[in-house]
Subunit: 363 residues, 5 copies
């Protein structure tokens, strides 16, 4: 998380695409809909799409699942006149959510959240809105736009009756809403950590807290700009010709969703920042407990040891003096000492108890 793939680009001219090797080829899917008709070819081809777009009728949606290779990006750039910096941003995969307006297109980058291997992963989700078409590129294995294609296959949905801008909105809504279950899973893991800390603070707690802090930090940094993106889209409704005025309440609703996401993140932040306090307080409580018990035992025996020490003195060997430890010569001397010892123990225990150090319900 502390690293960046920027480091390897320093010195290259801006807008340069790099040849990347070894990734799985991306999967393309194309949908075109217009009035009542829906066209979804088995094999999505870019020249096909270019023709559909050139007709200026209906909406064409190209979805690319997986990281597109250099050649595909270059072809996209040429066919749909996409700025080289957009292509570089798509390839770099380290973008924060943002909105760039170009003369012919609107370029939106979002962060799609996923829970994988006990950690949150954020993947770049690119959206290009042009006149009558949307291109979405999701650099991840799992395709989660299937639900939209299903909705499109139903003829009477709102999706079918609106333009490309509504499709853009629907895709953004999908990406934003997928953050909720991921955040909840993260929230649950934080709550479990908190409970573990209160119960018994172990060695692994510190790294776990640090890790939760960083994940949260990462999430906040990646998701906060989403809000700005949507609020700029709302303001853009007025003068961006690609966006229809009718979209405004939907974008406002989406904005509310992102506020909700931020609220969750803020809540987690407060919880996570409290974890360290709980940990330290728990560690300190535990130490106190140990120290208290041990010290009580020590203190109990120290006066007793003194008593035995007294009668371990050798004054009794002096037979000439009646003052020389007469207790040693008493008939019941030894049992009396035991009585004294027992009395001291009981006295100390009562004193401890009155002070609430032992046998007290409170801590």
């Amino acid at each position: 998380m502390l690293h960046t793939n920027r480091a390897h680009r320093a010195g290259l001219p801006p807008g340069t695409l790099i040849d990347e090797v070894g990734a799985a080829p991306p999967r393309l899917s194309l949908v075109h809909y217009h009035d009542g008709s829906l066209y979804e070819p088995e094999q999505a081809r870019l020249d096909d799409m270019q023709k559909l777009v050139a007709n200026h009728e209906g909406v064409t949606w190209l979805h690319i699942q997986g990281q597109p290779e250099k050649a595909l990006l270059e072809e996209l750039g040429e066919r749909f006149d996409i700025h080289p910096l957009v292509l570089e941003d798509i390839q770099s995969r380290g973008q924060r959510p943002k909105l760039d307006e170009y003369p012919e297109q609107v370029f939106v980058v979002l962060a799609a959240a996923r829970w994988q291997h006990d950690a949150v992963r954020l993947e770049q989700f690119n959206l290009i809105l042009g006149e009558g078409y949307v291109i979405s590129i999701h650099a991840a294995d799992e395709d989660r736009t299937g639900v939209l294609r299903e909705r499109l296959s139903l003829s009477r949905t709102r999706l079918r009756t609106h333009g490309a801008d509504y499709l853009l909105y629907a895709l953004m809504d999908l990406v934003v809403d997928q953050a909720f279950p991921v955040l909840e899973t993260f929230g649950n893991s934080v709550e479990q950590l908190e409970e573990r800390l209160v119960a018994a603070p172990d060695r692994d707690a510190l790294p776990a807290i640090q890790s939760a802090k960083r994940t949260l930090m990462h999430l906040r940094r990646q998701l906060w700009p989403t809000r700005e993106v949507i609020s700029r889209l709302i303001r853009g409704v007025q003068d961006e010709p690609l966006l229809d005025e009718e979209l405004r309440p939907y974008l406002s609703d989406l904005y509310d969703h992102t506020i909700h996401v931020m609220d969750l993140l803020e809540t987690y932040r407060d919880v996570v920042s409290g974890l360290m306090d709980i940990y330290l307080s728990s560690v300190s409580n535990r130490l106190n407990e140990i120290m208290r018990t041990l010290t009580i035992i020590s203190t109990l025996f120290i006066p007793l040891t003194f008593i035995t020490g007294v009668y371990g003195m050798n004054f009794g060997n002096n037979d000439h003096s009646p003052w020389a430890m007469p207790e040693l010569r008493w008939y019941y001397g030894y049992p009396l000492i035991w009585l004294l010892i027992i009395a001291v123990v009981i006295g100390m225990l009562l004193f401890f108890k009155r002070r609430g150090w032992i046998l007290s319900g409170r801590r």
Copy 2:
């Protein structure tokens, strides 16, 4: 508090209403007033209301107490031309206070505070202001708008002589003002916690502090936007045709009330954030007290044990040397040792006292 019911909606098209099962049916109450007349039917019916509203005379108020089912929301939507996103927001129950302006309506969401089972609960209070009517929907069991209906039944109140916008204001004022007693109850519980912490920090204190922190966090997050809602209403007075210019001082007054609520919340925040300090300091004071007492006892006896150890040595068995522990053979040897022991004890106690570790008024 860390959860959201958003997680279950991901993938659904926006504006979709869900069929919820098992809730108690909502209670509807309808009031229509105009000049001197007041009409309040036993049985509130939506077609009735639609006719009253269509007359363009007087003010019609529909209050729905309890969560409306899907069918009712759909009927409302159709009869009064309410945007599907508003209906979805009403159903979702997780909205923060907000203000949405639609061409025909103003939609206000507030959070109504309630104290229940030793905890603060916030319930969504929805308000729809249209031309000549107000629809208020409160997704909770207890109806707290009765006081307004009583005021309406008195013919010469300000409420009767003003329009629907004043009724909207009166409802908002009611919801905002109901926060005060709830906040005071919360404030009292925080103060009690603080006193408990100073007196004796127990094990349960940590979760109690965390819980107070979270409640406050929740309250702040839910109530802060109220301020924004009202300030937007004040600005809206100028160009929103549904709001009258005369309403401005009343809204300003309401704004002052929300500032007051925020002030209370900020005060509580400072108090709550100080609780952890008090707790840690209290725990540490308590440990110090234990350590001090115990260490004093130990230290007192350690030199005494040394003295008894000296005379427990067996040098006295050596009869040939006058240097071999002659003290053991003294006539008053044993009593002298006791005098030494007592002198050491008194000396140590005086030393402790001079340092202020025992018998000192201060800590």
Copy 3:
């Protein structure tokens, strides 16, 4: 401080005045001045004042000292056409400083600071500026506007030659400047607390710190808005007909005074927030001192006790072996042991001293 008298108003219509019982009746004083003449009746009467104001000549100032009863407020409201919300605000006594502009009046609320019973008290000071008159209402026993009446009695002061807006300014200046001695007294008490904490942290320190924190919190919350009030007045000079352009430098000067108040408050805040650090560090220093002294004593005697233990062993009883504690049979055995003991003590003390644990100038 955590409470509010708002809680008892929930449900009442806005602008409602409550009948309050038991307070001392307020004292009214009326002054009217115009060119060279000054009229100050023994008995201030509202109908008198209404006539003076209706003449549209000179400036009329009504000061009400003490909380006005409901009847008086209602009479004021009727005679000078004051909005019911203003009257409610005057009665509520829990307002923060604010500025409300009404068509015929400007309503200013300030907080007058007073030092009473070792604590800061803030009282609501209400000011109503109308065409040619000022009404000031101070809900407290002690009248502190006497100094202004004295200045008015001198004919050639700036006060006599300016309008009602300058009188408003003079009253505000009076209220703001009275905060300085109060803040200094508070500052002194904080400094004394700090010195006490450094010297000897006692049990009462924690509540004292908390109390200073809260007082400061309260002061900041009540005095901050003053700045906003005055800056709005400065901006209001341009378009509010009741305020003259000539007033601007005076208001700027008053603004500087409030900045000064805020600066003092910020300085106190930094000091107060450092108190907890000093307290904890002081407590910890004190514990360290105790632990150190006690541990040194213990450590000193433990090796000695071991030595005496060695020669308390009964091997010497074995007469058959020359290896059986021959030391016991040495002629100078016992004095040698004492030499050993003394050598160990001196060695330990030197070691402690070299480490700087005893007899060290630092610490």
Copy 4:
């Protein structure tokens, strides 16, 4: 620093000057320059200056070093038509940096930093820019504007060829730049404190940290507004007739200098706020060191004391049983015990060493 001389002014009408007694009389110096000529009279007189200013040719600069008495201020006020509030501000000496624009003048207050008696002192530096003249008043003993007079005496400097506004800038530049060596001296003292804390945290450290904190606090509060003053001057270039457009890059440069001052202050703030951490950590490290050493000694001897205790038991007196401490009757009993003791000591030391508690390079 917690006090203010405001407290003694409460109740006085604004713009009142007080008769102050006992200060040394201020020193006045007058310079007038125009084209090639420079006039610098031995004895600066205000009527002289008034005539020079009335000529509307060249630039006249009056510098007053030391606090001007009431009479002088009043004469200044009359001759150059200065607002009474400006005079009051000059006399009060507690102003923060600020800029007041009056119809005929621009009034600038800066804070001149000086290092005196191991502490930073800030003195009010007043600047009045009028048509063709600058009056600078510095309420301190030491005159530091001599360097400017020297530059003026050289005929071909930029200072001589520009107007009064450039002289104002040159004076401000002088005051701002004099902050750098003072801040560096302060920075050095903070660094020394930090080093002292790391080496050995003594009792005086706490007050020293608090004092550094307060000095910094004071500096920040007094120097921050300088930035605002200069940025307002830059904006004022456009519409303030007393300022020439050509001055803009010079003011921008001065603004960069204040940014630099702020940067230094922010850096110091971070360092100072870290001092408390270092102190606490150092105190705690020192306590740990003491506790560790002492506890090791105690622990080492406790098992040994047990061993000697065993053979101090009197079972050996029982001659009838072969089980009665036969060790006491062994030929090599006593040396074996010493071997046991030495073995235990070595074992414990090895254990301590393996755990890294003794003889370890690390702590």
Copy 5:
């Protein structure tokens, strides 16, 4: 880092250049390109450049590597009409990133990051954009602009086909992107420090944390303004004649890069601010471990020592009483005592184990 070279300039007139001695002479390199032609003389001369610029054709780029001496700066100033404040800024080397617009030029200061001797170094990188030329001055030994000269030597790059503003952008892009590998190296060193702290907190950790804090502080303060510089350039595209509208997407892209840099810095800040927590917690864990082990040993032996003390008492010498320590006379007395001692040890160990203080996997 706490120092500044400003301190030595106080009192000098603004725009004064100082004669600096001893630095290596700067290396100049000149490139001029126009349509297809590229001219790169062996020996860069300023009069040459002046002629090329005067032709108003193509782009001329002068790069000065190393700190230019006073004479060179003055010559530059005269030939290209550069404001003396710009020259002073170039010489001072302590500037934060900034943008100054002059009538004929745009002056940009950036901070170039370099990793040297285990520390981050920031060097001032000056850029002057004039009509048809760019002058870049980098006050460091190592020339890192070579990559750009290489790109220029290729005829068909975007660099060759754009104007001087694109060259400015390319240089800024180069400087900003060089921050990434430096930041990564710093991030790695912070991560290593964190790991070291968790493993074993040693004495050197505190200074290392402080040093990381300061480096970060320094980086943030120097790099933050870069963002502002670029955002001002973007806004400047509209009305600054030296910048072309076509540059906007490139500057936006560069702005994204700086956001990325800031993100990394914020991430490091969170990590670094957590280091102190980890250190303190680690120190405290280590102390707890020591205290626990040692206290367990002590506690184990104290009751045993009491037992031996009991039988070290001399009551057994009393032959007349059957109550006088009959245990001493038992046949198996001594072995029984050993059994008792062993039983107590086992009991204590079991008790410790049950409490989880020994042999527990958890801490």
